[in-house]
Symmetry: C2
Subunit: 465 residues, 2 copies
Amino acid sequence: MQPQKLSQSTLSALRGIVGQGNVLTSDEHRLCYAYDAQRLECVPDAIVRPADTAQIAAVLRLANENAFPVIPRGAGTGLSGGSVAAAGGVVLDVCRLDRIVQIDETNMLLTAQPGVVTAKLVSAAEKLGLLYPPDPGSINACTIGGNVAENSGGLRAVKYGVTGDYLKALEVVSPLGEVYRTGARTVKSVAGYNVTSLLCGSEGTLGVLTEITVKLIPIPRFRRSLLAVFDTVRGATDAVVAIMTCGVLPATLEMMDGMTIRHVEQANHIGLPVEAEAILLIEVDGYSDAGVAEEAEIVRAALAKSEASEMKTADNPADRERLWEARRSAIPALARARPTTMLEDVTVPVTALSEMTLFIQQMAREHSVSVATFGHAGDGNLHPTFLADDRDEDEIARVKQATAEIFEKAIALGGTVSGEHGIGMTKTRFLPMETGPATIEVMRSIKRAMDPNNILNPGKVFFED
Amino acid sequence: MQPQKLSQSTLSALRGIVGQGNVLTSDEHRLCYAYDAQRLECVPDAIVRPADTAQIAAVLRLANENAFPVIPRGAGTGLSGGSVAAAGGVVLDVCRLDRIVQIDETNMLLTAQPGVVTAKLVSAAEKLGLLYPPDPGSINACTIGGNVAENSGGLRAVKYGVTGDYLKALEVVSPLGEVYRTGARTVKSVAGYNVTSLLCGSEGTLGVLTEITVKLIPIPRFRRSLLAVFDTVRGATDAVVAIMTCGVLPATLEMMDGMTIRHVEQANHIGLPVEAEAILLIEVDGYSDAGVAEEAEIVRAALAKSEASEMKTADNPADRERLWEARRSAIPALARARPTTMLEDVTVPVTALSEMTLFIQQMAREHSVSVATFGHAGDGNLHPTFLADDRDEDEIARVKQATAEIFEKAIALGGTVSGEHGIGMTKTRFLPMETGPATIEVMRSIKRAMDPNNILNPGKVFFED
């Protein structure tokens, strides 16, 4: 582990800002903050845990004076290295800013500090009959600040969109330590540049979010879930296209391939069809029982014309719960299989799902690696998950090669190397392939303008010059 | 009228790029391009009508070499001066880029050049059973490029959102004349900064949009319309709050005050209640007949508990059409009343609608001016429309004073000075009041980084240093 590199005077200035107990420099602490939910280790020099916006602003002003990187961090559940210290420096942990500031029930707005766990935010809204739709897989651990920084998606994105679709306003500390507000608490606003959306998904490189206002919607109280079983991947992906063009939008449309099904069943004994090569899990929801029943029937009719070998409707809450437990347990079940799980995130147009899924399986065969694929099929968003062993360098190299070819294929199919996990530090090499150099130069010019001293989260999104 | 100020060599270079016939410099042409849909006159030095992206890039490179402003323009239907030449220079009319490039029916994406009239885009999608939801009032004349540049709203925004909510990808010519692409053709994408959203609503100051990809949704085939009549404005605004919290989202929720009702009725003889102080026009839509009927009933129940003196359901298409004709004819009917119509655009949280509407009426009395208010009540978006005479300087001064106080009130109520018309050049003075100076400085830093020579649409959004 590399030694802590900050000067004693910087450390004591940090202690002066956030208090003695909120500057962590021990090797144990630094190692705890060296990871997110992917496998790269990046040890920071120190961790600070500010209590409020003013302390965050002071830390950033100090960072500009003393030239050390600052890496904003929520719960560290990210999957692309967005919250780890790629170039050393100070991790700015926002966990103490964990208050729901206000819920405006009538205007359907919720204002929270960045360290609020997303599930807590969702449940506070639910108590008032309101829904915050984005539901990233790590919802019980991740924070709303991290969700905004990465523009997180989730299972409901096919109908309800992602974090950015609900983001209304922000309080921000700029990289230079200036506090400002963006956006509006109104349904519509076109007052100046949309800095709110620029910050959303900027992975902590353009500002530290200190207050977040999201819009809520009335809870769709009615829902119907369906399961469809397929003997081939192509049968399932063709059915996805049929559903997405049947005239109604499902709230959720998930796919699991054969290997995922078998691992989930082995771990959880849910009763999944272990002989199948793919299943689709579908949910339709809405504000009227009759309407949802009608929409579910339209989806069922589309499925009936597909190659599904079996179809089940989850008629009661217990059946429904079991169905969605299967999907939720995909990652934990796969993580049990081998020492190292490498979860990827490619998105293609729905029409290219079939080609993408089959290509992933082909790559696994060609490079002799093991991959299970599941994901948000309605979005074209797949999570090929490599099951490997970190101690086997050759296997990891083969996984990396397969991943690189999968990214290139996703781009060739008109897709993106990241649907919802961000570029972080794990995909910087692939971003220019997707966007081209001129777009990267525009992004860099924005970064240079807003963060002239390159203080916030350096080494992320695009390589620095 | 000021003389044309471009040098002969610049003009001949422009002719070399776009062709002799596509550089307009006559006084008549310059006057035609001196207006948008508001009253300020700004005469450009010349107009160019490029045929493609390459010509636009060449015009911008020339502008950087010869230091003249370039003002992108669609149909000129804007209401804040976004497309007029505030500081002289060359208007870049995109009307020749008027092709729908591609409709991807399965992935529900439409790609268009910026000069495509929005109604044409909508109707091309409709033929495939798909809807492009944003519906600005000028939909039959305005262009998709202008809609993106101003992030236009419309009547359906309360449920379906605004232009930016449907924008997926762009081809852009940067202020320096570089061509690049942003965004993705997938449902989700978090690959790098969201430059797409930054450009949306940037009013032609950060780039010229040359190709626009929007997402479509399946057409909600079922709808129910309702009319509710009120003796007081407060009764109507209370009903708006009741509807917005009844648990379902109407597709449209419009309000017209007494003066608007009487002008519309006088012009169109629709049968509106001329004694009323306010009416609400409501539409519920969806994918299932039974579902929409149930949702309409929930809205009707909320209205039944309000102070509505009368309620009507439009049960057949002819009744429904008459109801919405009333709303669509608000602007033309008001425009007949006096020589000069000054249409404003403030948005407040729905809970502040009552106070905002009554304040607008109070301002009219205090400043002895005539104002009719209508708007998208479900969004909190009001269009106070002043009826005046341009030749009466004193009256115009009083309108301006009333407008300024209305803007200040909107900000005080937690609202915005522009819900959907943009800042352009008519509201630059009010933007800093809303955002504060630190936010303006962030916006300016982005402008300086992306347009170092201040070529694109100078004098808009915020005052230049």
